[in-house]
Amino acid sequence: MKEIKSKDVKKFLVNNIVPIIFIVLCAACIPVAGYSGQYLVDQIITRIVRNSFLVLSLLIPIMAGMGLNFGMTLGAMAGQIGLIFITAWNIVSIPGLLLAAIIATPIAILLGWFCGKMLNMAKGREMITSYMISFFMNGVYQLVVLYGMGSVIPIHANQVILPRGYGARNTIDLLNVRKSIDNFWSIKLFTDENGMGGITIPLLTLILIAILCVIIIWFRKTKIGQDMRAVGQDMEVAREAGIKVERTRILAIIISTVFAAYGMIIYLSNMGTLNTYNYHSQIGMFSIAALLVGGASVSKASIKNVFLGIILFHLMFILTPQAGRNLIGQAQIGEFFRVFVSYGVITLSLVLYEIRTRREKAESAQTLALSQTQEANA
């Protein structure tokens, strides 16, 4: 009996090694960094608000068995293009963000459709392909934004276009829409007498995120959601059951891309500045790393993973530079360290996933062989 128990513990540890490493890491860093609990909670809430929409957008392709959608970068690009337009037109606050979302949607659908088509041509290596698509599209995005805007696309606003007359600026100020969703309805807790500090809870954004979670849960139960899960389980079986496999897969990617575009709009409206040529390429890596830190794998991810992942990953992000400064006297090491951790986590999760699937395959083959020999004996 006891043996089984220790085996269970070991299995639990192996299956959840990434979150466990992170919990230990964060626990070790908290006293070293020396931040107050209140500050940390406030920061974590800010980051949940910023990032959860983006990370949630990764769930549906995983459900459809297409792995981690590195192509979410495409959605981020669409969102950024929407924001560039509304900034150039000077559309402010929530109407501005809504309009940005409306502009981003068709672009995201188009990009998602392209990505889905490509991934259907590269079944079995969706991840590396979606990764290369994000690189390729980054080139196209630069062509459009850096050379097309102002020369082909009629945008001439000073706050967006470079002085040379075409091309978007490196950084675009989003003051017009900054925190407009967050400040629409938020409450402050534990503030001091000057109304400073404390914990800010932006209710409206949290409600939006909750709605998305509900949509995802509901979506799993719809016909198309069921189809996606079937395709994710086994493409051939699904095809025989009459499911249009290719169409379902494209749909999964389109939905993910559109959500990523909205997520990017929420993220950037919270940040207040747009780094035109950098943010979209980083956002994919960080969102994926956060999801994996939450204990998700290439084939299985839930909403629980999303929030646990964001909390742990961003706790590490907040803590390491300060911990590095206090420990070694160099904040730079902390920064390098967190980049290393982001990449390392993705590597570790991918490797562990592969090893686990292979072992499971071998085990099922063994049981199959065993049952066959038993049958033969009987």
Partner: protein
């Protein structure tokens, strides 16, 4: 090949309606959310060849954003959302009588519009008191963006770890 009847079924019209509604919403949002700046201006100005002297003192309220005092040669920019707005002016005449002008409604024709108080006080129609303010381009604050895909290797770690 699908027949026309198959293509133009109920589903098609529902989708068409959705798209139309979304486009209408987008246009509405564009007009409703567009921010224009109104520069309320109390300088001596020339309109249609006549010169109007700046008022010594005036109280001006745009929409219901609170009244503000304007001395001579004062110009303030007020960011406004939407197109149609109102302005109410109270001013002193030469014998220090406070005179309140009737509330004037106007719409903003430019992204940066100048509205002249002396002109309004002189009783000119509001359209003639509006003019476009040409804002000088802000000085070139940054070098042209480098095409940085991260492939060239100089998209530093500094970028990657910035305030995420």
């Amino acid at each position: 090949m699908k027949s026309a009847k198959e293509i133009f079924d109920l589903r098609f019209f529902v989708r068409l309606a959705c798209i139309v509604v979304i486009i209408a919403l987008a246009i509405f949002l564009y007009n409703f959310g567009k921010q224009r700046t109104l520069y309320v201006d109390n300088w001596t100005t020339e309109i249609n060849g006549t010169s109007y002297k700046a008022e010594d003192w005036a109280m001006v309220e745009v929409d219901d954003l609170g009244a503000q005092e304007y001395g001579q040669r004062v110009r303030r920019g007020i960011p406004l959302r939407g197109k149609t707005h109102t302005i109410s002016i109270t001013y002193d005449d030469r014998s220090f009588n406070e005179i309140e002008l009737p509330v004037v409604e106007f719409s903003l024709p430019y992204d940066a519009t100048l509205i002249s108080i002396p002109g309004l006080v002189a009783g000119l129609p509001v359209e003639e008191c509006l003019s476009e303010l040409v804002v000088q381009a802000p000085p070139a604050e940054e070098a042209p963006a480098a095409a940085d895909d991260g492939m060239s290797g100089d998209a530093g770690f500094g970028d990657m770890s910035m305030g995420f």
